[in-house]
């Protein structure tokens, strides 16, 4: 098991934002975390990483910081690139947890950076200044940074928000490929159709709790979409996977 959360609770004041969540993610799984805005998806992931004070246990938060950095790569929703460094330098930051104090990039690190750049199709942008790229390119660069960290688990918070349709699909396909290679991925997202087609498992959250957890077709039923998302929708089983068709908003 790559990630094990037991009874994880995060309170803001007295109000629980994440309420007694237990969740396991194993090798080879690409788990989609879905739920309406404010359901607690981001808080759950940040607490699991040990970035927020919490009750209950997280297998990641229990690790020493340097070991945790070699176990999980974290891709937050805010895409921050503070300085005009080159794409290659930025992606190489993912190697920091693997470098002994004071040492430079080794051939193995350079190979990991090259592989990450190749995987995200960024070789031609390698020497460009990261801050001058378009939003979609920056998103890909930051994903490559997380891939360069070369960890058994990748956690990403809405990585496809703001990307064009092809980039959304390509990104999730990359994540799924990582899972198929035996790694684990936990990704929060709002595109239910892509989630249904590319995740091996979906976890539906509402008001800080897990509503259901299972295969996409078990989780995405018209009843749950109405109950959790206030959405009147039809779910079609097609040859290329599940198709969610939102028809109206329930008030």
């Amino acid at each position: 098991m790559t990630l094990r959360l037991t009874d994880l609770t995060v309170k803001r004041g007295q109000c629980p934002v994440v309420d007694g969540v237990s969740l396991n993610v194993g090798a080879g799984e690409c788990v989609g975390l879905i739920g309406p805005n404010g359901a607690g998806k981001t808080t759950l992931m940040r607490a699991a990483l040990g970035l927020l004070p919490h009750d209950g246990t997280s297998s990641l938060a229990a690790l020493p910081a340097d070991e945790r950095a070699r176990t999980v790569a974290w891709l937050p929703q805010a895409r921050q690139i503070a300085w005009p460094v080159t794409v290659e330098v930025l992606v190489a930051l993912g190697r920091l947890p693997h470098l002994p104090a004071g040492s430079r990039l080794q051939p193995a690190d350079q190979a990991a950076v090259d592989a990450a750049l190749a995987r995200m199709g960024l070789e031609s942008l390698r020497h460009r200044t990261a801050t001058q790229l378009s939003g979609g390119e920056q998103a890909r660069v930051l994903i490559a940074r997380a891939l360069a960290q070369d960890t058994p688990l990748l956690m990403a918070d809405e990585p496809i928000a703001g990307l064009d349709p092809a980039a959304q699909l390509a990104t999730l396909q990359t994540f799924r490929a990582l899972a198929d290679e035996g790694r684990s991925v936990l990704v929060s997202l709002h595109d239910l159709g892509l989630a249904a087609r590319l995740c091996t498992r979906l976890v539906l959250m509402d008001r800080g709790r897990i509503v259901t957890d299972g295969a996409p077709q078990e989780v995405l039923t018209p009843g749950r979409l109405a109950q959790v998302f206030h959405l009147r929708a039809e779910v079609h089983q097609t040859a290329s996977g599940l198709l969610i068709e939102p028809l109206g908003v329930l008030t």
């Binding site: 300085w83 330098v89 930051l93």
Partner: protein, 326 residues
Amino acid sequence: MKLALALSVLTAALFVAALFVGHAAIPVPQGLAALLGLGDALHVTVMQQIRLPRALLAAAIGGSLGLSGAAMQGYLRNPLAEPGLIGVSGSAALGAVIALQTGLAGLFFLALPLTALGFAALAVGLILWLAGPRGSSLTLILAGIAISALAGALTSLALNLSPNPYAAAEIVFWMLGSVADRSMAHVALALPVMAVGWALLLTLGRALDALTLGEDVAQALGLSLRTVRLRLLLGTAAAVGAATAVAGAVGFVGLVVPHLLRRLVGARPSALLWSSALGGAALTLAADLATRLILPDRDLKLGVIMALVGAPLFLHLIYKTRSEIS
């Protein structure tokens, strides 16, 4: 590496120039001998007790300001940050002004820089208490602004209450910032404190690189933000507090130098640390040389020249990079 070499050569050349440019014309061979205590007694005094401490202090102070400016900008991820932001230089200046105003400065040698250092330590204690272990970088900036404002107000009060115009003039001239007429005792007092600051700040390179991706990712990359903040605060306080204690307030170095060198190091915060230390030393040595060359008889202050050079330089940089900033 080319940049490291160029900056080192530049700093060394300016350091040598600082030793040999001055009121008394001393030929280089005699000057070198005098540094070792040989030859004309007057030359020995000038070289060992006037020019050497002055050049050493200019280089060390410039290095401290450049280094802490680069560290502060890297930590706050803001090119407008500068070492004065945390209120340590303002507080050190307040300590010096109090020492001058009360006559404490005349009581014993080094009373002034020691009081200034004490006040710098007080300021860093206050900021650590205010910005706390869990404090954000915003709390840090706000606490720094509050402490700077308080130190500024108390400095004004000390000036306001100064017993006579001569005392007021002495305070004002001290505050302009200068490395003239400092002794090796000043060097011995300030340099070890600054060196502690440099040692703390130079270890931050990796952390500042990671912070390029934001605080969340930096922590997920195995960084302890608490440790980073503590090292940054203590390092800046030691380097800048000691610099201000012996030289008064010298502005703009910490702001302009990292800005000037950022492109040359590919914007990597870790590479900016050592290069800004060298660049700051070079700029301050050059500015101090300018005070001696432009109006040798009028005792131009280092802080004044630095502001006169720094502000237009900063304007030029903003003009050149405005498209990148927006």
